[in-house]
């Protein structure tokens, strides 16, 4: 098992390396460099621009160096925890991210829990009641769930929320808790607010999970061992939970890998529409104002976290299913 984990972590290093290259390309993609943006900002603030000072700054930040040297310098800084500086916010990128990333993670995890909590029982029901009215109903809802863009669902929910409460943004806390220090009351308040974005983000994933769960369980239910168990008089409920359900759960657990990227996408859109203080508005703002250090870092962080999440789900899967440990 330890060997499996070590191999998987080794395999991830080149992938993270590619992620860093792509993030760097994004930072470098817009015309002009960091200093040009800085000069523009100075001009906008009507401050004096001293060409000599700019040139010395260029030298200091190594902007006159060739691209690959700049890349390695940037990578070195990142490994030391320095993600660069946001021009728009005039703050270190790492601080900006630290303020907002936890909320993005909280929403993603909550929506993952929501998706599984809903998909597993529905998949179980659909498979054991194949071609029943309920099965068809869930399949139809699932199809519509797959076809509805997250942001549209978020918009619909926000609309109802606005009509019901008169607030234009959902928020993560009630007013009295926004600046309050952490307490049990604040935590409960967070739970009362976070379910809404979690439902919005989780819906699309739920539909896919139901299909996987249903298909797997249907396959297992036809196996001879189910018939054997039934013939020796095991009750239907016990039989289901004890044998086919456990086997059918394995592929469901492995879907976390491809659910995570979709989750990040959904979280971005839902937060934008619902006006949540997550990484999404920060990212869009950075892109629109060409604050590329911030934007590139966000792409880097989101991709890395997704990869790490996939790694964790693989390890869990290998722990559940010994066959996988030998495969890689």
């Amino acid at each position: 098992m330890l060997g499996f984990i070590a191999r998987r972590i080794l395999l991830m290093i080149p992938t993270l390396f590619v992620v860093s290259i792509i993030s760097f390309i994004i930072i470098e993609a817009p015309p002009g460099d960091f200093m040009d943006a800085y000069v523009n900002q100075l001009i906008q603030q009507q401050e004096a621009v001293d060409p000599a000072q700019i040139a010395s700054l260029r030298l200091r930040y190594g902007l006159d160096q060739p691209t690959y040297i700049r890349y390695f310098r940037w990578l070195g800084n990142i490994l030391q925890g320095d993600l660069g500086r946001s021009l728009e916010w005039n703050q270190p990128v790492s601080k900006l991210l630290a303020d907002r990333l936890p909320w993005s993670l909280a929403i993603s995890i909550a929506s993952l829990l929501f998706a599984y909590a809903l998909a597993i029982p529905i998949g179980l029901y659909s498979a054991t009641h194949q071609y029943s009215v309920g099965d068809y109903l869930f399949t139809l809802i699932g199809f519509i769930g797959l076809a509805t863009p997250n942001f549209l669902l978020a918009l619909l929910i926000l609309w109802y929320y606005f009509v019901a409460t008169g607030n234009v943004a959902v928020g993560l806390f009630s007013d009295e808790y926004i600046v309050a220090p952490w307490s049990f009351g604040k935590f409960v308040d967070l739970l009362q607010h976070i379910w809404l974005p979690a439902v919005v983000v989780g819906t699309a994933g739920t539909a896919g999970l139901i299909r996987v769960m249903r298909a797997n369980l249907l396959d297992e239910l036809e196996r001879p061992y189910v018939m054997v168990a039934r013939s020796k008089g095991l009750s239907e409920g016990k039989l289901l939970v004890k044998y086919p359900f456990r086997i059918a759960m394995n592929p469901v657990a492995s879907t976390i890998g491809w659910t995570l990227p979709a989750l990040v996408n959904g979280e971005l859109l839902a937060s934008l529409v619902l006006g949540l203080p997550t990484i999404a508005p920060l990212f869009v703002g950075a892109l629109l104002s060409q604050d590329m250090f911030l934007a590139g870092s966000i792409v880097m962080i989101l991709s890395s976290l997704t990869l790490i999440g996939t790694l964790i789900s693989d390890i869990v899967l290998a722990w559940l299913d010994p066959r996988i440990r030998e495969a890689i």
């Binding site: 992938t15 817009p30 942001f151 549209l152 918009l155 606005f162 491809w258 529409v273 629109l288 792409v299």
Partner: protein, 379 residues
């Protein structure tokens, strides 16, 4: 062909291969067509998709107004209902006019149905002039009213007809899907083909790239790349830029299907026979291997259209895709983003309904095609 359909009625029992030789002599495409036609939902969905595309193609003629035709007298006007009878008497369909009133305290215009104004709906009415496909000049619209207003889905903030804008928006939103998969198709088939045919180190590298692209979230990448498109580009250039960005990330699913097929076909005897006969690689790939999995490729192409449409809609909705003079469903939905506006004018969400229906239909058709293309499924 007529005989075939008589013997294998849609939804009915198929003749068994031993007693009826129509099945034995049928070509692969005939088999696929029969199987697909039995998939009622998929056939209906295909019909809807065809209608959508026809509407987009003939947008100038079908839309009641020019999409840029604006009138400040009719800002945020709610949809007008089509009536078929008045005082219990059936008659030519008509719409009632609306009277507007400005609330001087809030400066909001409220509309009231005015039953004294009646505008009958006519076919082939003269309206805004247009140049069909840039070729024929005309001012005939399929449906419309001769006087008064005809806003079946209401109007937007500038008093433009939402229905007309949705029909025109379909041109961009629906063609993004087709053009996007055309580009993904080329990348996917080349990469998947190379990967599956040669195997070894090449395969390993391409597989790593695919795995990588599939394991990172696409939206942040799309967003960041679309910002890199020069702001000086025209609408058409931006449109193509967005499509290329969507396809650069979206080709992986298809490459996987192609690779898997190449892998399994490479082991077949008839490929070895072709190699022994001295066929070159291009001939083996295009003449012998490709035809045997074209149907699968078409099915997975159909299933990847929704992702493209959703991608464009989401990007434009955020404001990083196509921008305002361009009309796409995402651009139209952007108007609904401000919740205060939306609460007063819920009809602004109508483009979203079109997005959902289009994606739903592509999913149904794709599923139907995939089942129909599976040669091992019982007919």
């Amino acid at each position: 062909m007529a005989v075939m359909e008589e013997r294998i009625p849609t939804g009915g029992k198929a003749p068994s291969p031993t007693t009826d030789d129509t099945l034995l002599v049928a070509t692969q495409w005939q088999l696929i067509r029969w199987k697909f036609l039995r998939h009622r939902v998929a056939v209906a969905a295909l019909a809807v998709i065809v209608l959508f595309y026809l509407a987009a193609i003939f947008a100038e003629f079908l839309s009641p107004y020019d999409p840029t035709h604006h009138d400040t007298d009719y800002m945020f006007m709610p949809p007008q209902r089509v009536h078929f009878r008045e005082n219990g008497v059936w008659q030519r369909p008509f719409v009632y006019g609306m009277t507007s009133e400005m609330d001087m305290a809030t400066f909001r215009t409220t509309y009231e149905v005015d039953p004294t104004q009646k505008f009958p709906i006519h076919f082939f009415v003269k309206g805004d002039p247009y140049t069909m496909w840039g070729l024929f000049e005309s001012d005939i619209h399929l449906l419309g009213v001769e006087e008064g207003t005809f806003f079946l889905l209401g109007t937007d903030k500038m008093g433009r007809d939402l229905l007309s804008r949705i029909i025109y928006g379909g041109r961009i939103s629906l063609s993004v899907g087709l053009l996007g998969i055309a580009i993904s198709f080329i990348i996917g088939i080349v990469m998947g083909g190379i990967s599956g045919y040669y195997g070894g180190v090449t395969d390993l590298i391409i597989q790593r790239i695919i795995e990588f692209l599939r394991s990172i979230p696409t939206l942040p990448l799309w967003m960041a790349l679309s910002v890199a498109l020069p702001p000086t580009w025209s609408v058409v250039q931006t449109y193509f830029g967005i499509v290329v960005i969507l396809s650069l990330v979206g080709w992986t699913g298809l490459a996987r299907v192609v690779r898997g097929k190449f892998m399994s076909l490479r082991e077949e005897e008839y490929i070895m026979a072709a190699q022994l006969n001295g066929s070159n690689e291009a001939r083996i790939i295009f003449k012998h291997m490709l035809p045997s999995f074209t149907s699968h490729v078409i099915a997975s192409l159909t299933l990847s259209v929704p992702g493209m449409i959703l991608g464009e809609t989401a990007l434009s909705f955020i404001g990083l895709g196509l921008q305002a003079p361009a009309i796409s469903w995402g651009v139209l939905l952007k108007d609904a983003q401000r919740i205060i506006v939306l609460a007063d004018s819920p009809w602004l969400l109508a483009p979203g309904l079109f997005v959902i229906v289009a994606i739903l239909c592509f999913n149904f058709v794709g599923d139907g095609l995939r089942d129909a293309a599976d040669p091992y499924a019982s007919i």
